[in-house]
């Protein structure tokens, strides 16, 4: 019988963590494409910003559903603690939402003149995007649950995963909308590989640091999901598909799906192992 109590957070929170990650990741990918990419990456930019905007709205809904009533979300805005991830998180949700809105608006309706502004805005927005993708992890590191906090890597891990799922989401949409011919698809994929590799590295260090404290996911009920669903299915397999099958677009689409599923599984096992 553990001394420390679990917050009994459930699926709503898992979804919130997952969606928030994608939103942050997608926005940041779009911003990079916007600033460093070329004209053929426009679709990436548009999809990225818009996806971020839609998902951030969904995040708000999820949070409120978990808390019960909308007013309870406002309680968090009545108060600000700079050292408290959850407190800042609540604020950032709003701020990032604003950026996502402006960026998407400019991306769709902005004139040529406004493009410069759009890029600068997006560079700043990226910071908040990253925040949204990672703060949910830092929040776990800041709890008393040894499994969540001891490695002090949750934030880093969630960020890598957020970025990669964000990219996967964009590439999937490109695939579905048939825009796989363009440079964008390839570039997103390429950068996603980096994110996935990084995520694998962090996970390795994470498990190393935790040792037996990682048991909740490496052993028992969640082990198959973790090893099979995340490590093998959600990270290694997509990498291989991308390396060997990047000629075949369909495989690219499949890889994106796998990454997304993997990203969900990551949040799922980590949260539910302590629910």
């Amino acid at each position: 019988m553990d001394i420390v109590k679990t917050p009994d957070w459930h699926l709503l929170i898992v979804w919130y963590f997952f969606i928030g990650g994608i939103a942050g990741g997608a926005y940041f990918t779009a911003a990079i494409a916007d600033n460093y990419g070329g004209v053929r990456d426009r679709s990436v930019v548009r999809i990225g910003y818009t996806l971020a905007l839609l998902l951030i709205g969904l995040c708000g809904v999820l949070l409120i559903l978990d808390l019960g009533t909308p007013s309870r979300f406002l309680n968090m805005l009545g108060h600000f603690k700079f050292w408290n991830p959850m407190s800042i998180g609540a604020w950032m949700l709003g701020v990032f939402g604003a950026f996502a809105f402006v960026s998407s608006a400019l991306a769709w309706f902005g004139s040529e003149q406004s493009a410069g502004l759009r890029r600068k805005v997006s560079l700043i927005g990226t910071i908040f995007g990253f925040f949204l993708a990672s703060y949910t992890g830092v929040l776990l590191s800041g709890s008393a649950q040894p499994f969540w906090s001891e490695a002090r890597l949750m934030g880093a891990l969630f960020l890598a995963s957020g970025a990669s799922t964000g990219m996967a989401a964009i590439s999937l949409l490109l695939f579905l909308s048939g825009e796989t011919s363009g440079e964008g698809f390839r570039k997103v994929k390429r950068s996603d590989r980096v994110a996935i590799l990084l995520e694998l590295v962090i996970l390795a260090v994470f498990l190393g640091l935790l040792g037996s404290a990682a048991a909740p996911i490496t052993q028992g009920a969640f082990a198959p999901l973790f090893w099979g669903g995340l490590i093998a299915g959600g990270l290694v397999l997509p990498l291989l598909l991308d390396f060997f099958g990047h000629r075949v677009k369909a495989l690219g689409g499949l890889a994106a799906v796998l990454v997304l599923v993997g990203g969900f599984i990551l949040r799922y096992v980590i949260v539910m192992a302590r629910a």
Partner: protein
């Protein structure tokens, strides 16, 4: 800030009568709950949203064949550095002018972050109200010149209430006495303001290791990890960032500009 109040629970005086547990329920009008089979007299294995004082019964057969039945009345520690308080995003958890830690039910939004942030597993989520509950240090009583209901009820003065700076020396005297009576394992838990969490305003005299009593050997403030993880997150942000920039960079920009040149 008024003089810090404290509760000193001296387990060497506890007879496990559970009057404190009942007095707490009665004063705070906490509803009934299903008991749990814990294998012994204890009716809940841990604090719940309806049990703020929990008397623990620990059977410990000794090497010498003698039996020890350790009885302890556990409660929120009202930590000087409180994980629950730091975790609370709404400010519902606050420190009173007496140094006690309390939850303002009107402000609590039920996010449960405090629940996972208490190193002692004290705060519990109340599914009926959708808010977090824990010992209030009888906030209403201390603000009306009364001691906590649990301390008031204890027949053996196992729970003592008073100003921290007066209780600690008392506790140290008692410890010394027990030592000379041969209680080798006797120790104070949370009395020292230089100790873990800057000291506990509800501190204990134990007859055995803290872990025997379901207490962490060395409780740590969970928020200590926030900064490190934040920096590491920035690190991994830079890495994915670089990766993406490399991926998207237009090599030599030979391909047709996208209009802004």
């Amino acid at each position: 800030m008024a003089r810090t109040l404290a509760m000193f629970t001296d387990t060497s005086l506890c007879i496990g009568c559970r009057a404190c547990q009942v007095a707490c329920k009665q004063w705070n009008e906490l509803p009934m709950e299903q008991p749990e089979w814990t294998g012994g007299y204890q009716n809940q294995s841990h604090f719940t949203d309806k049990t703020y004082r929990l008397v623990r019964f620990i059977e410990k057969p000794q090497a010498n064949g003698q039996l020890q039945w350790l009885l302890m009345s556990d409660v929120c520690k009202h930590c000087a550095q409180a994980g629950c308080l730091d975790a609370c995003p709404t400010g519902a958890i606050y420190r009173t002018e007496y140094g006690t830690v309390n939850i303002n039910q009107d402000v609590c939004n039920g996010c449960r972050y405090c629940v996972s942030s208490c190193p002692f597993g004290v705060v519990a989520y109340n599914h009926d109200t959708g808010r977090a509950n824990k010992c209030t240090f009888c906030n209403d009583r201390i603000h009306n010149g009364l001691g906590p209901a649990c301390a008031k009820t204890c027949p053996t003065e196992s729970i003592q209430f008073g100003f921290r700076d007066e209780l600690v020396p008392k506790a140290e005297k008692r410890l010394a006495k027990l030592k000379e009576m041969g209680y080798a394992g006797a120790q104070l838990y949370g009395a020292d303001t230089n100790g873990p969490l800057g000291g506990l305003n509800a501190f204990f005299l134990l007859l055995d290791q803290p872990t025997t009593y379901h207490l962490p050997e060395k409780p740590l403030l969970p928020q200590r990890n926030v900064l490190v993880d934040s920096l590491l997150s920035v690190g991994s942000a830079l890495l994915v960032g670089v990766g993406a920039v490399l991926a998207f960079r237009e090599r030599g920009g030979k391909e047709g500009g996208d209009g802004h040149r």
